[in-house]
Symmetry: C2
Subunit: 590 residues, 2 copies
């Protein structure tokens, strides 16, 4: 069975040695109570729960899957009990509002915890990941009565939440959705329609579920300006089942322990959230939360796959080392770790995982500053960075996570393709993360069109200026400077190209989107790796330094800069080739 | 259910319009009988069988899988009947030696046929793909008696073949294998040991199976110089079952209709092929055959995935076209094909598939010239190109095939992740092709170390000279010339770097291997695309030209050159960064 050890050491390095979380927490009233000791205790306890309660159910949950029986959904054996331990430990309310029973922990800390639960058992954690986003939506846009009614239950883990957007004819294009909401009395409505691909739409972990549902009021404008948002409980306050039921569950490539449901609303009672026809804007609060969360699914998958590939590479004896000094004496073979191409596979994963962990913490920090800082300029800039970087985190984490699981599988050869080592499950499970919560192509369009072209490149410039400031402040290791400068300039030129040409070429943003998102992610990792190398090299000067950890950090940063960051030149070349080669084919010429 | 239409039109374009197959066939005595009409009739008939008999069993075979019951293996419902139609149609002996009942068709044609069967049903076709390689091994290295005994049966499809290399402790490193062969009398031996991951090791399609088995004679030298090759029939000539039996079948991520067996040899009777202790060299005849064949699995998977993604993109209405001229009037949404990022996904697949189809035909042609040409220099050069390019075809086809199926799945969004559209099966099925028949890392080492560094770059120079000759002969479209020249120079410089530094740095070849293989594949596709664009542009000048096909070809070639070929610069940069960043980490620093 695959193993997993929570990355406690690396999380501490990122949070405290690199990003100086304690200084940020001290500076904001809402986080002043949090210090390193508390944060490390939380990470440690979360990691232990992930290792001991989540991980053992990962393979069995995949093998068993969810069962559907006449509207009822059973989760795999052990899920309900593990979920109860998790809820009773207070994990469901970790980032929740204290006024309603949440623990109010900073986002910078909760992203660390999320990565670990996703790594250990994605299917099981998904039930909670959706609930946290639902709570955030309710706390941001719900009435006071709605908050008092639902937040304590969600924070306590006794009710979960879902996000009901997709319909058979409306996926990426929510403007096409047809679910209807007829007014009853007060803020009550009757909802009718079918939603598909609803994660955790029905299950046996809790007694109640709150569905957050997009629907149209009578005479609503067409398209996305005519969409309203409703809260639809599975069980009504009088104890009756509401008229919402699962019609089926999907048979999927992976996350087979997560119930993906067809939900039929048949005159179900719902409660309006926010203004009529303005529901999409409210739903974006949850969508943005889930986008970062699903990014962390990618990060967690990359980490657990790497750990298992590394363990295999240490044990498996195959072939002789190319360098004489690496050969074991009197042995017929050496372990896989001596082979350059296997090291390349592992280093690529390690570089992406640790770069991603730093980027996740950075985005988490911006979310905290945007929400809690008294410094208006800092808060506004942080909010802009969050807007710019959330689609990057979602897509780049999951693309690299998928790539990482595939590379990890490759380390095991044929043993990676059969079920017993678990690697093939990681590949299947993480693949969905590139698709749901808005495909990575949609994320790239959000970044490139909405957040960059239509913004005149202002937010992109804010991000570039952060990297430039790092290059100017003397902390960039000199050997890494030329590569980072080249990537930064490629990003600035690409941004300018997109902003300049989007006005006359409506197909440009879409043609450039995925490459521009990848360039942004690459630059972010290149910057954070240079920063981490600098911190690690300083750490190595200290007495009692954790030499292997820090030297490994330096060497992995060198690898990222030598072999992965140079892709920025190709990405710029693609972007600057414009839309012509993509738009030239007539439909019948494909 | 997914659809599939055999790429008849494109195969004719590649074989006859680009590579001028008829001129080559006329020039060689062994292929003089083959002409365009015959070849097109064979492709058409093979395509029809793939579409009508193989495709309908693909999804059901995956759902049902193989069953194992006390040593017996049942293939999925319908497989046996479809296999019989295929064998009775003469397809099992298509490339076989005429003197023993084969049809002697040129390799350039059989690669086309293989692509179609792999596309339509990889699991079913694998039984035959292994048999053809076994027949080639027997015809190349077996005694006359052995050929007469087995070739007619294999060509008739009444016996299949397997390739027994891997053991639990010996995968990529065959020097570690332990299966023993004790001499009996004459060329008979008694074999004892366990082989794993044996494709088609047991099944119910035919009464007999011949296993080609690597084993050690008593007192054989250690390592790969002490390996001998044996033919071990499942059923002996006296009708008795031989002492070889399946101990289990693997539960795999994909190719679930292909029986992957643990085979136990328990004093099984076998017959030596070739010289004692020289078995690995003989086995390489089959391995090289299968490497190209498995490459075609990647190509076929990429094609069927593309066709289904394209069909979905044409039908699915979602979002409005960014360009006003692409918008349907009075409609709420346009189809996916109008969106630049979806076009990018599809064009990437199309460019890889059609580039790969041309490359497969080119390698097939070199195999025919090497085997049949009277021109000694041409035959020797062709053999060198085959040696150089076989690992490239295996790895680059399967890497691009996997990438293509993932991109195709992405076009369908959530519908690509659930079972019913079939895309997720293509991803799962093709993933093994990057692993078996020597992982793609092993292929890259074969290319970079054995075929390039140790060869002083001679064969690589031969390939580069072909591209240079094309650039010199006036057929390269001028707008594509700078990109192709840049890729060629990147390849030449990278080759020189590897040859020069491998002597002093034993870790260099392994560090550069995968990037060098990718660079080689990219250059080959860039060259063949420029060639195809040239042919298509000339064709467009003719009366009655197939305008959409040819314009699509030109536009796809432009896309390849604008957006995919530029990666060559990054690959060169990685290669020239040497081994330092890969070898620096100590084992405990991972």
């Amino acid at each position: 069975m695959p193993g997993y050890t929570a990355p406690r050491r690396d999380l501490s390095f990122v949070l405290f040695d690199v990003l100086d979380a304690e200084a940020h927490w001290r500076a904001m009233a809402a986080t002043r109570e949090v210090d390193r000791a508390l944060a490390e205790a939380i990470v440690d306890a979360g990691g232990t729960l992930a290792e001991s309660a989540f991980l053992p159910l990962n393979a069995s949950g995949d093998a068993e899957g969810c069962r559907f029986d006449d509207g009822a959904v059973s989760t795999p054996r052990g899920f309900a009990q593990a979920y109860r331990s998790y809820a009773e430990g207070g994990w469901t309310g970790l980032g929740g509002e204290p006024a309603y029973g949440g623990q109010g922990m900073p986002k910078m800390l909760t992203v660390a915890v999320e990565e670990m639960f996703f790594a250990a058992n994605t299917s099981l954690y998904l039930y909670s990941a959706l609930s946290a986003g639902a709570a955030l939506l309710i706390s941001s846009h719900g009435s006071e009565a709605m908050k008092q009614r639902w937040l304590p239950e969600i924070y306590a883990g006794s009710t979960t939440g879902t996000m009901c957007l997709t319909e058979p004819q409306a996926g990426s294009d929510l403007g096409l959705l047809r679910t209807r909401a007829e007014p009853l009395e007060g803020d009550e409505y009757s909802l009718t329609g079918t939603k598909i691909f609803i994660t955790g739409g029905e299950h046996d972990l809790t007694d109640n579920i709150v569905h957050l549902v997009l629907a149209r009021l009578p005479d609503a404008p067409e398209g996305s300006r005519g969409i309203s948002l409703f809260l639809v409980p599975k069980v009504l306050d009088d104890g009756q089942r509401n008229a919402v039921a699962a019609g089926a569950i999907e048979h999927k490539m992976g996350i087979r322990g997560s119930a993906t449901c067809v939900l039929n609303f048949d005159g179900a009672r719902g409660y309006l959230i926010g203004e009529p026809n303005r529901g999409l804007a409210c739903m974006f609060t949850m969508m943005n939360y889930e986008r970062l969360s699903i990014g962390l699914q990618g990060l967690g998958a990359g980490e657990i796959a790497y750990q298992n590939a590394l363990a295999y590479a240490r044990d498996r004896l195959q072939g002789r080392a190319p360098r004489a000094e690496d050969r074991r004496e009197n042995a017929a073979a050496d372990n896989l770790l001596v082979h350059p191409d296997v090291r390349r596979l592992l280093l690529t994963q390690k570089a992406y995982n640790e770069g991603g962990r730093a980027f996740a913490a950075f985005v988490g920090l911006q979310l905290d500053i945007a929400k809690f800082s008294d410094d208006e300029v800092a808060a506004r800039d942080a909010a802009d960075l969050v807007a710019l970087l959330t689609p990057v985190a979602k897509a780049y984490f999951t693309d690299r996570g998928f790539e990482g699981t595939v590379l990890a599988q490759q380390v095991l050869g044929g043993h990676g393709y059969v079920g017993e080592w678990g690697l093939e499950q990681f590949v299947r499970d993480v693949r969905i993360a590139q698709i749901y919560e808005g495909t990575n192509g949609i994320q790239a369009m959000d970044l490139t069109d909405r957040k960059t072209a239509r913004d005149g490149g202002r937010m992109a410039g804010l991000f570039a200026d952060r990297v430039a400031a790092f290059l100017a402040d003397g902390h960039c290791p000199e050997r890494l400077r030329p590569g980072l400068e080249a990537a930064l300039e490629a990003f600035r030129r690409s941004t300018a190209f997109i902003v300049e040409h989007s006005a006359e070429d409506p197909a440009l943003a879409g043609s450039a989107a995925c490459d521009y998102l990848e360039l942004t992610g690459l630059l972010a990792y290149g910057w954070l790796w240079a920063w981490m190398v600098n911190v690690a090299e300083a750490g190595l000067e200290e007495d009692g330094a954790d030499v292997d950890f820090l030297q490994g950090k330096v060497a992995t940063g060198n690898f990222f800069h030598a072999r992965l960051l140079p892709l920025s030149a190709t990405l710029e070349q693609r972007i600057s080739s414009g839309s012509a080669s993509i738009m030239a084919l007539a439909a019948q010429q494909f």
